[in-house]
């Protein structure tokens, strides 16, 4: 089992969830997070109007943090590639700030209600 952690734009959560559901993975965990990437936070990143003088001031230093959504989904090893390519396809806007995807291993999963273990617990 692999855990796919995707940090994406808040606006793209719904399309991503729909696409993952079509792929057969309706279960996700989403968390509101703040973060910044290699560009150290860009003031034009958020879709609110910022006063020009503030923007001019912020351009040099950048924003401290940018609001993002962190989506966690646990999938079987064989499905990692299709899930990653789906997330990438849905979230690409060709602009900086599309996000990152991290993949790490999960040793075991347990469904609390039925005590199922392993891959049957996540499907």
């Amino acid at each position: 089992m692999k855990e796919v952690i995707a940090i994406i734009r808040p606006k793209k959560v719904e399309p991503t969830k729909d696409a993952l559901e079509k792929l057969g993975f309706p279960s996700v965990t989403a968390v509101q997070v703040l973060g910044r990437g290699r560009q150290r936070g860009i003031a034009g990143e958020v879709s609110i109007d910022i006063r020009p003088e503030l923007l001019a001031k912020g351009k040099s230093a950048g924003m401290k943090y940018i609001p993002k959504r962190l989506i966690t989904i646990v999938v079987p090893d064989s499905e990692v590639d299709s899930v990653v390519s789906t997330i990438i396809k849905i979230n690409q806007t060709a602009q900086i700030g599309d996000g990152k995807i991290f993949i790490s291993s999960i040793d075991d999963a347990i469904r609390v209600r039925t005590n199922e273990e392993g891959e049957s617990a996540i499907m």
Partner: protein, 105 residues
């Protein structure tokens, strides 16, 4: 690649992120969390606080940078009192940049 999750005091979070930026680690994710440690929360007067607000800072770096990041976090989050936090290091198998679809950090 390694993921470093540091659970620190909320007021120390900006110190930590600025310290990491100075050391060259600009990319990070910050999450507000609640938790308790070995001391089972704190008791102030007659009120017992079971879960305390903390900030989790998540950084993914190459293996060789782990020691440096941990050192910066330890130095910047330190107050010497109970509740300074914990640092967890785990393995990340792969990373992708969504905009380009390129593998790697």
């Amino acid at each position: 690649m390694k993921m470093i999750r540091a659970i620190v005091r909320p007021e120390a979070a900006d110190r930590v992120t600025e310290g990491l930026a100075e050391a060259g680690f600009f990319s990070l994710t910050k999450i507000s969390v609640f938790g308790r440690g070995k001391q089972k929360g704190i008791t102030v007067g007659t009120t017992h606080y079971d879960e305390l607000p903390k900030t989790m800072i998540m950084v993914v770096v190459e293996d060789k940078s782990v020691d440096e990041v941990v050192k910066v976090v330890k130095y910047k989050a330190y107050t010497g009192n109970i509740g300074d936090g914990k640092i967890f290091v785990s393995t990340v198998d792969d990373a992708y940049t969504v905009r380009t679809g390129v593998k790697g950090l």
